[in-house]
């Protein structure tokens, strides 16, 4: 019940901001391919699902002369769709692996959210917009 009240009182201003902001936002922020990050089922998910903006990352990797293999391993079945070695890590360590892999790279690159910026990646609005689009 309490959650609902908070959600209601934040959705309205958020939507207003979104409409006002859409006109001003750079194309990169609104467009681009979005992928949900899939980790093994967490028994009680506490945070909104991470929706990964792939195109933004491709641009950033290409700007540093990287390519697909910067983030993806080649397997016998072709290029893996997951990040690096995440699938070979034990199921209960995959969240930790992703936290470290994402934010280490952001620190090295000098941009992108750091580990303290929880809700930049775990963003309720992005997650619910993505869920809405999929329907």
């Amino acid at each position: 019940m309490r959650e609902k009240i908070i959600r209601f009182s934040t959705t309205l201003p958020c939507l207003l901001l979104l409409f006002c902001g859409l006109a001003l936002m750079p194309a990169a922020a609104t467009g681009g391919e979005l992928f949900p990050v899939t980790t093994p089922k967490i028994s009680k998910p506490e945070m909104p699902k991470v929706i990964f903006p792939h195109d933004k990352h491709v641009d950033a990797v290409e700007a540093k002369n990287g390519d697909c293999s910067t983030c993806h391993n080649m397997t016998d079945a072709g290029m893996s769709e997951t990040l690096k070695d995440v699938t070979s890590v034990a199921a209960n360590k995959q969240v930790k692996y992703m936290h470290a892999a994402c934010t280490d790279c952001h620190v090295k690159a000098g941009k992108g959210p750091r580990l303290v910026d929880c809700r930049v990646c775990h963003n309720e609005r992005t997650a619910s917009e993505f869920a809405g689009k999929k329907k």
Partner: protein
Amino acid sequence: MLDFITGPLFIISIAVFVVGLLARAILYVRGLDARLERVAYSYHTERSIPGALASIFKWLIPGGTSGWRAQPVATFLFFLLHFGAVLIPLFLLGHTVLLETYVGISLPSLPGGVADVLSIMALSAIVLFALRRLSSPALRQLNSGQDWLILLLTFLPFATGLMARFDGSAYQTWMIAHVISGELFLILAPFTKLSHIVLFFMSRAQIGMDYAIKRGGATRGGAFPW
């Protein structure tokens, strides 16, 4: 900037906090009179140790001592603030993730809803404490800048943390403010009345020992809730 304040500056803050509070604890013991206090406490350990533990334990229970019962409003506000002030910094999910990633210690974390409620409780307690400080004649006499300073130092990390939680539009700005205000708290804790984080335990232990040995402690069978 974020990398500096969450990296080197954070390590410095933690170091000042830990070393500073340890120093406060050591200075407390050294400040006791050797003949009047320390000899008696270490000679009668069978009474001093239970007395110390009982005093700490009873003061951690709401209404557990007559000191608490004599001031119900202050007691209520105290616990309203301190549940959150102790549990949130240690067990908030965001904090435990950081601790696990950088230190390797993995602690259980609070459910999100509980953490929200505890933080809001703590924040409202701080506001009510400020109002009490303004309205109570006794407190107006005792008031010092330090008292306001520690209320502010506690208010800021909670307020900025909650703003980051609920105001997604300026999340990273709130987060920077949150980290800086948290570090300010850690750095200043040993030098302000926030040193009660350890000195509470030191003085409760000492008074517990004292009352269990002297002041008729032996005839009362040791510790009692005064």
